[in-house]
């Protein structure tokens, strides 16, 4: 067993850290306050290759492993999860889905621009009445011979407005239930698509979350991924990998808040000494450190399993569940350690706390992860 990172993995971690600490940090509070989409940062991170870092170089990606991806996600998320969620959706849902299950022609046409970051992808699964229950898709993809006719509404879509390429999950054969669901690659600018207003969120405010409406949108047959009815399986398989990205994001939120809490507790004085010297604060820091280390190990194990080509669904559900839960706990404690300063924007930890909440909800709520984990536990033991 080896807990050492390779030189290359460390280089990627450092590159992500450098970008986050030098560039992202500069205007993160303003972007959060006014919900400004991080256009320039997405462009810069695309040029550095982070938006398609997991994609094979054959399709213009970075060709990096999932462990490197976890390291990069953690560093970016320490500073701004509105940016890292764009990176996560593009890499581990959209690019991964097309690369793993798409045809050569689809990869050539759609994957390459996504891997280069010239286009950003969005994954359209959630609906007003189908969030965790992904089998109840109301959006329909009616088979019209050489094309599908898409109708319906998708909700909570990250990159909903800025994406150039949508992966849309929709029902073609309602009588077959989840086995009638398809996944289609859809050009965002196709006639019949309209995008709802920007959702005014509690956290990750500068990522653009929208509802997307489809009204008689024609999608060529060749844009379907996999066999007819593959859509639900596609979504579940893709989300397994997506969980690693969000787990690493939650880890980054926690470790970002923790680093700030440690620094603050060594500077701030109360009762004649730095507050780190008070056991009530020091023990909080110890608990935070243990939780973060556990979350990091779960993330890295899931990533390692994926890189080895081994099953990782159970591990990624554990990583996502645990990292999201501890992100909420750690950021709450970081605010507490900062006292009144923690409650104002300047010290960042209140924002990290708001961001942490979302990691318990999206890409499979904590309760959905508990279902995935408990089913496996009950099957195995």
């Amino acid at each position: 067993m080896n807990f050492e990172f390779s030189e290359e993995q460390l280089m990627i971690q450092q590159a992500a850290r450098d970008y986050a600490q030098r560039e992202l940090i500069k205007d993160v509070i303003e972007r959060d306050t006014h919900a400004i989409y991080p256009t320039e940062h997405v462009k810069a991170l695309s040029e550095l290759g982070f938006m398609g870092m997991l994609v094979d170089p054959e399709y213009d990606g970075g060709g990096m492993d999932t462990v490197s991806y976890v390291l990069a996600m953690e560093e970016i998320s320490k500073v701004d999860s509105s940016v890292s969620v764009i990176m996560s959706v593009n890499n581990s849902l959209v690019c991964y889905g097309i690369e793993k299950f798409g045809t050569e022609a689809q990869k050539e046409k759609f994957l390459k621009p996504l891997a280069r970051g010239e286009k950003i992808g969005a994954f359209l699964l959630s609906e007003p009445e189908a969030g965790s229950d992904a089998t109840s898709q109301r959006t329909t993809a009616e088979d019209k011979g050489d094309y599908y006719l898409l109708n319906g509404t998708k909700n909570w879509i990250t990159n909903g407005n800025t994406a150039g390429t949508y992966l849309v999950i929709a029902q073609t054969h309602p009588e077959k239930g989840h086995k009638g669901i398809n996944v289609l690659i859809v050009d965002r600018h196709s006639p019949g698509i309209s995008v709802g207003p920007h959702e005014d969120k509690m956290g990750m405010r500068s990522s653009d979350t929208h509802s997307v409406m489809f009204n008689d949108v024609k999608v060529p047959k060749e844009n379907r991924i996999g066999e007819d009815g593959f859509g639900f399986k596609f979504a579940m398989k893709t989300l397994e990998g997506g969980r690693i990205g969000i787990a690493a994001q939650a880890l980054g939120i926690a470790s970002g808040a923790f680093e700030r809490a440690v620094k603050y507790s060594k500077e701030r004085k109360a009762f004649g000494t730095e507050i780190a010297n008070h056991q009530s604060v020091a023990f909080k820091l110890a608990d935070m450190a243990v939780k973060i280390e556990n979350a990091r190990n779960l993330c890295l194990k899931a990533a390692w399993l994926k890189d080895q080509g081994k099953p990782y669904g159970y591990a990624s559900a554990m990583a996502k569940y645990y990292a999201a839960e501890i992100a909420m706990e750690v950021t709450t404690e970081a605010v507490q350690i900062h006292g009144g300063y923690g409650y104002v924007k300047e010290y960042h930890v209140e924002r990290l706390m708001r961001e942490a909440k979302l990691t318990q909800i999206y890409e499979g709520t904590s309760e959905i992860q508990q279902i995935v984990i408990s089913r496996q536990v009950l099957n195995e033991f």
Binding site: E7, E8, L10, M11, I12, Q14, A15, D18, Y19, R22, E47, L48, G49, F50, G52, M53, P57, G61, G62, G63, M64
Partner: protein, 249 residues
């Protein structure tokens, strides 16, 4: 035109420096190593020039004198955009020792512009660049804060007392560069990191060289005394303490 960038492998600038118990050596255990920040800016400028003048700048080489533990730092330079790397297998020594090793490795090689950071962030010697120019019998310009190419003419700006000085020089030349030579150090891209795997890193044997000086010991800086807060209304006490304790007035 071939550009050589001299790289010093230094502890991360946030490192808390520790010494051996006898204060005769620096304790490097657990240290993260980075490219010396001034050298990183020099490398960034070299890459920018190659991108701006692809027909003029053929190759960027990076060089360091050090043990195999410096290889990751050289590979990072390759990932940033250098074309090849040389490591002179010679660890330790003072500025003269380092300059001698670098000169030994590059003498006779077709380098037109050699860039050296003005100092290293660990020992702050500020001597290798000038010594290297002397050993190679190249011209040198120090305190360079901007560098541009105009055909074969090399245009630099130096920071001087009360302003800036513009200089034109020609190859071969050693330029000792400082802050301003580039704004943001280059962050390696995924593609850069990937291609660095296959870029050449040549290890050259050290030459016999006697250091010009010997370190006899180190002293840690005195602990900072605690900060004393004085009520802004209480000017008399401030003046009293500045006079009796700090003894600055």
């Amino acid at each position: 035109m071939n550009i050589l960038v001299c790289i010093s492998n230094v502890p991360d600038t946030t490192t808390r420096i520790k010494y051996s118990a006898d204060m005769k050596a620096v304790d490097y255990s657990g240290v993260q190593w980075i490219i010396n920040p001034w050298d990183e800016l020099a490398l960034t400028r070299a890459i920018e020039l190659k991108e701006a003048h692809p027909a003029l700048v053929q190759k960027i080489t990076v060089i360091t004198a050090g043990g195999a533990d410096a290889d990751p730092t050289l590979r990072k330079a390759l990932a940033c955009g250098a074309d090849d790397a040389i490591r002179v297998d010679a660890a330790g020594g003072d500025s003269l020792f380092t300059a001698t090793q670098l000169a030994h490795a590059v003498k006779g090689e077709p380098f037109d512009v050699i860039l050296c950071g003005i100092e290293s962030s660990d020992y702050n010697g500020s001597a290798v660049g000038g010594m290297l120019a002397e050993l190679l019998d190249y011209n040198s310009v120090s305190a360079v804060s901007s560098l541009n190419l105009d055909g074969n003419s090399i245009k630099v700006t130096r920071e001087i007392d009360g302003g800036k000085q513009s200089i034109e020089t020609s190859a071969p030349v050693v330029l000792i560069v400082q802050k301003g030579i580039a704004i943001n150090p280059r962050i390696p891209s995924m593609r850069g990191i990937m291609t660095a795997r296959t870029k050449p890193l040549k290890v050259v044997a050290a030459t016999a060289a006697a250091p010009g000086s010997k370190v006899v010991g180190y002293q840690a800086p005195p602990q900072k005394s605690a900060c004393k807060m004085i009520d802004p209304e209480n000017i008399d006490e401030l003046v009293h303490l500045l006079h009796t304790e700090a003894r600055v007035i």
